[in-house]
Symmetry: C2
Subunit: 166 residues, 2 copies
Amino acid sequence: MALSIYEVSIPVFLRAFGNLEAILDKAAAQSAADGADPQKLVEARLAPDMLPLAGQIQRASDTAKGAGARLSGVDNPSFADTETTIAELRARIGRTVDFLKSIPPEAFDGGEARTISMRNGAVQLDGKAYLLGHALPNFFFHVTTAYDILRHKGIAIGKADYLGKL
Amino acid sequence: MALSIYEVSIPVFLRAFGNLEAILDKAAAQSAADGADPQKLVEARLAPDMLPLAGQIQRASDTAKGAGARLSGVDNPSFADTETTIAELRARIGRTVDFLKSIPPEAFDGGEARTISMRNGAVQLDGKAYLLGHALPNFFFHVTTAYDILRHKGIAIGKADYLGKL
């Protein structure tokens, strides 16, 4: 009855991405209804030296696909950070979700004990420590900050959109 | 080699709280050095209808202690939301950490299958779905938003402070 490393990673990412897609749809719809420039949302940020909305979603994508690849041993596809519209950010999420779904759950067997190398080999840790101490906190950081940027810019979303239906 | 529900909850909360304590210390020190009113930080928020820093930390505390109590079956201590200073918020985190550390890890055995009742019984789910679908995402939401508020207010912190040492 314990939890598998697959359960604690891929379905968690997929759930959050589904909620984030719905949040982006609301942002796009509200921008269109208000006659606002949706481009401004993509470039919005909470501090001058923080990543804008686009960067937050790109890093959430990278964190999730990096975790999927490292914990299962499959190749990590490289996605160029070229998104400049909400539609393109949504497509980035879609490609990330497709990749995560393409990895067979069995490929994660033993992933908790895999040696994960980070920062060009300067840090090595096992899959469990990597997922719980880095990948999950980092993933939720970027998803939450994307939400926070949109809230800060007046998009009418709430915590229920972030959490989704239980 | 699978993960226990204890490993996926309590140490994850403790790690994030430790990082958050260090972040609050930096915020307090910078406020003092700048001659700024630290009270303004406690009341700062990203949108008029979002919780301020104090509320974000109170909800992170509630989410973590609620998860600790529900997954282990111990009583959930009630903490009044009376914090109005950074020192008091740090003490709130300290009390939360003390409570989480007071629960024996063995008390979580089988916690993944416990029935967790939410929203006055309107939602019932097992401990695993509760932790992965609600408690962890909600916890990281509030810790990240606390960080985002401080960054938005110009506190000199970075992602490394949020993630902590690996």
